[in-house]
């Protein structure tokens, strides 16, 4: 059984909401990523979304854009991201890792080669922002063949027909983009989210995570009333950037533990 499904099954049994932190691999330094992943797992992360930096992150707001630029400047590449996951798996075999990024670094490696390398490294799911379902048939098949979950986005603008389409393809969970905008924007309308997530849950058989615009324990808590998972990225990335180099992992862990506390309260 895929690690993602196992985690959501346990959470459901315990009536808890999944907490999914996002960090950019290689930011603020190449060395910080592995200890940060361990710290996040220890602080209560149910799934870790690891961002693969790209030169042209079209769906991201300023915080993650800068974060990607820093990671690339430090020399982060897809191969190094996969090596980091493989290293993480040596001591953590329970926490699912989902890679999130853009199509071109995958295209450059070749889809099939990437999927094999990701599976071998211990990746559990892949979310490619610019592979919407209509362009993802081949890629989803490759992922499924190696037991990896293709994770898709849904948006406030997704029509019922599209939600039904994604329902057929989605494995692991779907990621509901809670607002019309880029990552880290600040105009989240929880009532609106609740209405849309309810409609999605009626159609989509996998858990629904909500992200884009969740910045602290309080918003996470509110969103958790309707969502199966909350995804939190920009605020965490900013916290890590503001931390002294030696304390990145510890600060990330402490920050996430606080959100976890608010979520479970």
């Amino acid at each position: 059984m895929n690690r993602i499904n196992a985690v959501f099954a346990t959470l459901k049994a315990n009536k808890k909401t999944a907490l999914i932190p996002f960090i950019t691999a290689g930011d603020p330094s190449l060395e910080a990523t592995l200890p940060t992943m361990h710290a996040l797992a220890a602080a209560g992360a149910d799934v870790i979304e690891l961002g693969v930096p790209f030169s042209d992150p079209m769906a991201d707001g300023p915080v993650i854009q800068r974060s990607s630029e820093r990671a690339l400047a430090k020399g982060m590449t897809m191969r190094k991201v996969l090596a980091t996951v493989a290293e993480f798996r040596k001591t953590n075999t329970a926490t699912p890792v989902v890679l999130m990024g853009y199509a071109n670094p995958i295209e450059a490696m070749g889809q099939a080669k990437f999927v094999d390398a990701a599976a071998d490294a211990g990746v559990d799911g892949v979310l490619v922002v610019d592979y919407p379902p209509e362009e993802a048939d081949d890629f989803s098949e490759l992922l499924s063949a190696r037991g990896l979950a293709p994770i898709f986005l849904l948006a406030p603008t997704s029509t019922p027909a599209r939600i039904a389409h994604v329902a057929k393809l989605a494995r692991g969970y779907v990621y509901y983009v809670s607002l019309r905008g880029v990552t880290g924007a600040g105009n989240l309308d929880v009532t609106d989210v609740a209405k849309n997530v309810a409609a999605i849950k009626a159609t989509v058989p996998v858990p629904v995570g909500v992200g884009f615009g969740i910045r602290d324990g309080a918003t996470a808590r509110k969103v958790s009333e309707v969502a199966d998972a909350v995804v939190i990225g920009s605020a965490l990335v900013q916290t890590m950037f503001d931390a002294p180099a030696a304390e990145v992992a510890a600060r990330a862990g402490a920050w996430l533990a606080e959100v976890r506390g608010a979520l479970d309260a």
Partner: protein
């Protein structure tokens, strides 16, 4: 050649094109596709488009026989399609009118656009003023410095120009930022993409609006030259002026189609924008196409003396035409383009855009190898007024400066020479 009927319903030209965007934009693209399908053949829409092209742009643009230059080169006869004579000075306005007419019909009161050199920004600002639409132009902060005059033109026309500080601070980053704006304001905003790239239906739609260029040539060439050309040449950055003139000629098998990319300081230096010549297929800005990228799939910075060709991708239909061998793609360096620019000024009395100068430069290489009864048709896609600053800098010339400006220049020079010894120590 079998019937050319691309893209397919999903926007694919063979393996290229497509809709590689985040979910948030899919609904807007679906709406655009549906509306474009509805209006594309609508007599009223077509009549309004044609009327605007005639009365606002000044179409049809003439075809001109560059006879003196052809004689000097001693080979094929060179003809120019004079898109430089359009209102706003380039072919860009054709597409902007088409898309702005769609924006009006979709009830979107706000239009946004990306721009590199500023030509597409100026054309968008122009048509937004004419139709009373709010207009926001995204432009890399590096390009804003290089193209101050066009920034001022856009502002005169009532547009807001937003500097983009991310990435390489050039055209590709302006496109990223425009996409981010669109995702955020998709309900009231129409994104007017300036070239035959981006997600479906843009490459098809922009090509269709620009194909007025080639369609006019199909009638004009027999009238003026007695027959269709042996080759059609156009510069290729994103590739909209080239698709505009190539498209109606695709079924004319005896006409070669030659796209000219920017070799910048030379392909071997890595400082160029020749995506079709040395790029590798990948996914960027909503479509699969040839891209300039590193081995890890990161997009690399490009260079060309002409900002309009300075883009790491290219329209997906060009990628397809290259692969099937229907079009050839070559490249011309900055220096070759500048030489052609100056020759065109002196020999024909036409100041061409630096972009178009690339196509002209290749024609001056090709013409002498061909017989005198052969015909080359070049898309002179824009005029060079916008390039005065770049060209004068490269040539070490200074132009007339009014007294106040001259005083400022002297003061700046004096200040600079005063600090020089300090710098040297």
């Amino acid at each position: 050649m079998k019937l050319y009927d691309l893209p397919d319903a999903r926007g694919h030209f063979g393996q290229y094109g497509g809709t590689f965007v985040a979910e948030t934009l899919i609904q807007a693209l679906d709406e655009l596709k549906a509306q474009y399908a509805k209006y594309q053949h609508d007599p009223e829409f077509k009549a309004e488009f044609e009327s605007e092209l005639k009365h606002f742009v000044g179409r049809p643009s003439p075809v001109y026989h560059a006879k003196r230059w052809s004689d000097m080169l001693g080979g094929a006869q060179i003809y120019f399609k004079r898109e430089d004579l359009n209102h706003t000075g380039a072919h860009k306005i054709n597409n902007c009118i088409g898309q702005a007419l769609l924006a009006k019909r979709l009830g979107k009161p706000r239009v946004i656009a990306e721009t590199g050199a500023g030509q597409h920004g100026v054309a968008t600002a122009t048509i937004a003023a004419r139709y009373g639409l709010e207009c926001v132009i995204y432009m890399g902060s590096e390009d804003i410095k290089r193209q101050a005059q066009n920034v001022y033109r856009m502002k005169l026309l009532g547009a807001s120009v937003v500097p983009v500080e991310s990435g390489s601070k050039t055209l590709k980053d302006a496109l990223n930022e425009a996409l981010r704006d669109w995702v955020t304001n998709v309900d009231n905003t129409f994104y007017i993409i300036g070239t035959v790239a981006g997600p479906h239906p843009y490459p098809m739609m922009v090509r269709d609006f620009q194909s007025v260029i080639g369609t006019e040539c199909l009638t004009q060439m027999p009238e003026l030259a007695g027959r269709q050309p042996d080759a059609v040449l156009a510069c290729v950055g994103g590739g909209s002026n080239a698709m505009g003139i190539f498209y109606p000629y695709i079924s004319h098998e005896n006409t070669r189609l030659i796209g000219v990319e920017a070799a910048g300081e030379g392909i071997e230096t890595g400082k160029h924008s020749a995506s079709l010549t040395v790029g590798v297929p990948g996914v960027l800005h909503g479509n699969r196409t040839y891209l300039l990228q590193d081995a890890d799939g990161q997009i690399i910075e490009t260079h060309s003396v002409s900002a309009g060709l300075d883009y790491p991708g290219v329209g997906p239909e060009h990628a397809y035409l290259k692969d099937i061998g229907r079009a050839e793609y070559v490249s011309i360096t900055d220096d070759e383009a500048l030489k052609a620019f100056h020759e065109c000024c002196r020999i024909e009395g036409i100041i061409p855009a630096l972009e178009s100068s690339h196509a002209i430069a290749y024609a001056t290489k090709l013409a002498p190898t061909m017989a005198k009864d052969k015909i080359l048709l070049i898309n002179l896609s824009g005029r060079g007024d916008k390039d005065m600053h770049t060209v004068s800098q490269r040539s070490g010339l200074s132009f007339y400066c009014h007294p106040e400006c001259e005083q400022g220049r002297m003061a700046a020079q004096a200040a600079q020479s005063a600090t020089k010894p300090l710098v040297r120590q």
